[in-house]
């Protein structure tokens, strides 16, 4: 479905270019969920933007991203626009900032659907209401509301419903639950998981919270400072993490350390090559220990 091949990303900053992702490769097989976990600044969001090809003008790429065998980097803006929202949908973090305060929820649905299909407004609103009902928002009056009249949790659900409304083949979820309280987080994750099962959509879920990733993913990618530290089946990584950074992440999850403490505690250098520890389970070499 999606194949990221030795992707490196540079962003433009005031002090010139800065590399934010280095030689990252991964695959999202059809119908599977891949989870990327890492602290802020590890390049997870950059990967999502790269798959959507957002901010093309200000980022430079090396390597390739293949979606159903076609290179996204080689596509022109028009082809890419037709993919966005239609074949690949993105759920973004911080839903409150993501909706236009001057546009009703319903119009967000209508414009998205009309960008890809010749659907009439009334029909689009009907589909929107069905999608909302699917994500525990059965009241169709929400469609007439403006974003500031709704809570963060509702907006996040709306965002998911919006992403699901055109039945994308690949769903990217960038920190889908970060801004929410714990209970809403759980509910939304369960709804997402249910949606994934029902529709067999491929998913890439990105979070700093290993708990979220553990709940959702078939395959886990651990990232730090733009590089993959460990990459393999969730069962292996969660049970028997090989890299010391992954071990530290797991420990942090079980002991409820904050991520900040973890970042301070784990001081290992990111160096060495990825090697295949086991079939399909890659780990970055560590210089040291013994």
């Amino acid at each position: 479905m999606l194949e990221i091949q030795q992707l490196s990303i540079w962003i433009q900053t005031e002090n010139g270019e800065k590399q934010v992702v280095r030689d990252a490769s991964m695959m999202i097989p059809a119908g599977q969920t891949v989870g990327i976990v890492g602290e802020s600044g590890s390049g997870k969001t950059m990967l999502c933007h790269a798959v959507m090809q957002l901010f093309r003008d200000s980022r430079r790429y090396n390597g390739d991203i293949l979606f159903e065998g076609r290179s996204l980097l080689a596509m022109d803006e028009q082809e890419m626009r037709q993919l966005r929202g239609n074949d690949i949908a993105l759920i973004m973090q911080n839903p409150i900032a993501m909706f236009n305060p001057l546009v009703t929820v319903g119009d967000h649905f209508v414009e998205t659907m009309q960008a890809h299909t010749p659907v009439k407004k009334q029909q689009a609103l009907k589909i929107a209401a069905q999608q909302l009902a699917r994500f525990q928002l059965p009241d169709p009056s929400i469609l007439k509301k403006y974003p500031h009249e709704l809570s963060g949790g509702m907006l996040q659900r709306i965002m998911i419903a919006l992403a699901a409304s055109l039945s994308p083949k690949l769903l990217l979820a960038d920190e889908p639950t970060t801004a929410l309280d714990t209970l809403t987080q759980l509910e939304i994750l369960e709804e997402l998981a249910l949606y994934q099962q029902q529709t067999n959509t491929s998913m890439l879920i990105v979070s700093h919270d290993l708990g979220v990733i553990a709940k959702m993913a078939d395959t886990i990618v651990v990232m730090r400072r733009g590089q993959i530290m460990e990459y393999g089946p969730a069962d292996c990584i969660l049970v028997e993490p090989v890299h010391s950074y992954t071990q530290a992440l797991l420990a942090a999850k079980d002991n409820k350390y904050s991520l900040e403490q973890l970042v301070d505690a784990w001081t290992g250098e990111v160096s060495g090559e990825l090697y295949e520890y086991r079939q399909g389970h890659w780990v970055r070499q560590e210089e040291t220990s013994c």
Binding site: M52, L83, A89, M92, A97, N100, P101, L102, T112, A115
Partner: protein, 313 residues
């Protein structure tokens, strides 16, 4: 929305009231005695007794507050007294010329909106392109020239050299184009820059990125997410400009020898035609307030958050 309207109407009335105090007060502050001015104007020999009896007759000896309230009551019925010069009612004199200035200002306003929206949006969407570069250098040149000088240049080139449009005077639509264009030129550079810079700011907002991530067509993004986002700011600015156009048409009217309100007021100023000035201040001030009220309403129509807050900015 009802609450919002009531609040806005209330503050509009307050503003009207404040404006009348200023219109009344400002005239008292300038060092011209209206009665003396009247005498000079009509070449009546000035004598102390004459002045005193006139003051008594016109009520200038009464307390200021009483004078103000009688004036206000008259002003409410659009009675601003008579012009010293023509002996006609000020309201009639102003209204008679007002449609000329209004035509001028309205045409200039339409020019401002269409030109600056077109160029501004184009400039912002094709940033760094040729049009953007051209418009920005053009704006710079235009913005650094005073509008009366531009008026002379236009008259010289378009009317005198090419003979395309009538040189001066009033009558047909062709007469309106040059003066209105000149009037508009003073504001267009400002608006192009305002539209361009606020659009560039808007384009980077998360909700625009999200719209792009949903594959929404670029034209829809520009129209619905970017241009709509700058509308409240734009409308508020335009409301101020509306008043500015009406009040500021004087220079243009003088250059093009059009007998509009602006020129009339300047002439009245030289003649110390006291009541005309007062009437003009109230008229323009009132229009400013009305324009702002309309702008507030339009903003509330665009931005639902304003409707709820009620008191707005």
């Amino acid at each position: 929305m009802g609450r919002f309207l009531a609040k806005r109407l209330g503050s509009m009335l307050l503003a009207f009231f404040g404006m009348t105090i200023i219109a009344f007060g400002l005239i008292r502050v300038i060092p011209v005695d209206p009665v003396e001015a009247y005498f000079t104007m009509n070449q009546i020999p000035i004598s102390e007794e004459g002045l005193a009896s006139m003051r008594e007759e016109e009520g200038y000896n009464r307390p200021l507050l009483v004078q103000y309230s009688t004036w206000l009551v008259d002003a409410m019925t659009l009675d601003f007294g008579e012009s010293f010069v023509s002996k006609k009612s000020v309201t009639a004199e102003l209204l008679q010329r007002f449609h000329v200035t209004l035509t001028l200002a309205a045409t200039a306003f339409i020019m401002i909106v269409t030109v600056s929206l077109t160029v501004g949006i184009w400039s912002a969407t094709k940033r760094g392109g040729f049009i953007d570069w051209l418009s920005r250098s053009f704006i710079f040149t235009l913005a650094s020239m005073p509008s009366f000088w531009l008026a002379f240049v236009f008259v010289y080139i378009v009317a005198l050299k090419w003979g395309l449009l009538p040189l001066m005077g009033w009558g047909s639509f062709a007469h309106v184009i040059l003066p209105a264009g000149t009037l508009a030129l003073g504001f267009i550079p400002y608006y192009i820059r305002l539209i361009r810079s606020s659009m560039l700011e808007e384009v980077n907002k998360p909700h625009v990125v999200f719209a792009r991530a949903r594959g929404v067509k670029e034209s829809v993004i520009i129209r619905r997410h970017v241009v709509k986002g700058i509308l409240p700011q734009l409308v508020t600015s335009l409301a101020m400009t509306c008043g500015g156009l009406l009040g500021g048409a004087a220079i243009i009217e003088i250059v093009f020898t059009i007998s509009g309100v602006g020129r009339f007021v300047v002439e009245s100023m030289f003649a110390r035609d006291y009541f005309v000035l007062q009437g003009f201040i109230v008229m323009i001030g009132g229009l400013y307030i009305v324009f702002n009220f309309v702008a507030d309403l339009l903003c509330a129509l665009v931005d639902p958050r304003v409707r709820i807050k009620g008191d707005g900015a």
